[in-house]
Symmetry: C2
Subunit: 366 residues, 2 copies
Amino acid sequence: MPDFKISILGGTGGPFEHSTQCFMIRPVRKEDSLDSICIDGGVGLGSIARMLQYNPENRTVDDFYGDETAAGQPVEKYMDEKLLPNIVKGFPKTLHNRLNGNIAQKAMNIYQHIGEYYITHPHMDHIAGMIINSPVIFEPAVLSKKQILGLPFTIESMEKYIFNDIIWPQLSSNLLGRLELKSLLDQEVHISETIPEWDIVPFKVYHGSKVADKNIDVSSSVYIITNNITNNTILICGDLETDHTGPNERKLLDQVWTYLAENVKLENLKAIIIECSNSASVDERRLFGHLSSNKLLDELQTLRNKYNNPQGLSNLHVIISHVKMVYEDKDPRLIILEELRTLGNKRSGLENITFSVAVQGYTFII
Amino acid sequence: MPDFKISILGGTGGPFEHSTQCFMIRPVRKEDSLDSICIDGGVGLGSIARMLQYNPENRTVDDFYGDETAAGQPVEKYMDEKLLPNIVKGFPKTLHNRLNGNIAQKAMNIYQHIGEYYITHPHMDHIAGMIINSPVIFEPAVLSKKQILGLPFTIESMEKYIFNDIIWPQLSSNLLGRLELKSLLDQEVHISETIPEWDIVPFKVYHGSKVADKNIDVSSSVYIITNNITNNTILICGDLETDHTGPNERKLLDQVWTYLAENVKLENLKAIIIECSNSASVDERRLFGHLSSNKLLDELQTLRNKYNNPQGLSNLHVIISHVKMVYEDKDPRLIILEELRTLGNKRSGLENITFSVAVQGYTFII
């Protein structure tokens, strides 16, 4: 039985500002509740409202790369066929059934029940929507309280550079009492207050270096979410790159793979949502803190070796996000998906991974 | 003859993140050029791409407040009938005709030719899209250079809090040489480098106070753009409120009205795009640095008095932006528009103002 409903409010790496990363997650076992958490907040309420307007039968993908008279690409192009039965256009019917009013009111009602935002890193494309939506916590008909959580480098940056009464009103003030910024501890289990059956463990990872000083690392996070009753687990990543290799550098992403292999049975690992910003054709020096399809396969190879399962990572669902929508004739997400499938097929133990794209506007039920 | 093509990439005051303020302006007299400037950058490339997909005949307004099976409200509800002949759904045909490739490529081509962003103030909903779009300046097929301009409080905040290698990579670095942050002088004429026939004058205005200390003012800007050949002029505002009245407070918005009355003939004042975030029903203590419909009418009355024209502000086009899309049964923009028309009709000299809404996805040719 599936455990997680993951709605892709946004899933690209820009530069289009309306589809940046935000994943809204609800538990399958609580059909009678709207409660959710989000991983990142690049977009939000605007995306929710558009999803509420979808015709669920129209299983196409908004895409700016096709024939402009076409109404979008069929979703089958973006999903592994094994995962197709697990996706819904927009939100599941059970959620629609619990909402009243017009689209704006319904969207605000869904927003009201987002209890926690887990932010991977404080880059604009992962926080902008969440910030712009935030005044809705004071909207009388849909009052709410929210936590914004992350590793200390994220939370301290949000306090200093965002909720500082200059870039945004200091709505996180204790005096207002509705928006709490809260630091998590690296690699320590945090129990979600919104969904208490979820254990959430953050891991710090590398995400390139500063423009102004190439010797200073930029950090990001990944989150491992485990249902503490069923042990079913998903891994959700923000931006990241492979581990740095200097003599004083720590292994970071490697620790994530070790943790999974040591703590999560392969059959409980329901999906990995991970960035793959670039095509394999992008020069290594131009990845700027991101993965490419070949680098992602290297990481999956590491995970495969740590599990050391005779069948390899058989039937693991890998869902890629944060593809950079570059100037191309063809949708870059389809280029990268093809690369992952072709190159993955040649790697021992990765042949039976399913690769799909975290397409904006769809819900994965896994 | 009209002078300005103003495309509303976004025109609300949130909380929906996909429609925040950005106005792209091109000169009517340069049909053979894509060159444009933007006032604010709440949204950008994503909005441009969607506008390129529009069917120009489908003159409806995306709206989350109507019947959810309806395809949007007719645009006539949002525009004064005198302005209707001057609006186009999406972009004018002359722009479409100059573009090649798929929608993504066309959108990046338009983006390439945005030479300058004039930012009214550094709040997230006025800058987020511009920041998230910014890596496209390095896209090989559509390389570009851009300036981000504003009064010192805006530019210094962007340097310190946004392009700081923490919230966003420091793409404004001189080493990269493509994105220049540039401070303007208050009330001094600045000649646009992108459109040299435009003189642009920024004015500092009030925009509430800090949450953490009610005694510290928050600032915003308005821009007066004048074609220095025809003298035709538009006033474009960001967020603002009426002047503060304390003994040590300066008159700010009042200086804007004085400047217009002293420097721009009423027949050359082609339009005022101004925020009207709130309905007249909102308590004065809950305006939080914004106008309401009655406050806006007070300001127009001041302008009317300064012009002291026997016909009042006859045929002046006032286009309202930044309406807060609150939890309501009816589109708040229509509520406020109705208030402005009803209350305006009762004020001497304001009866013949035309009131319209800066609806996302439309171009005003004025």
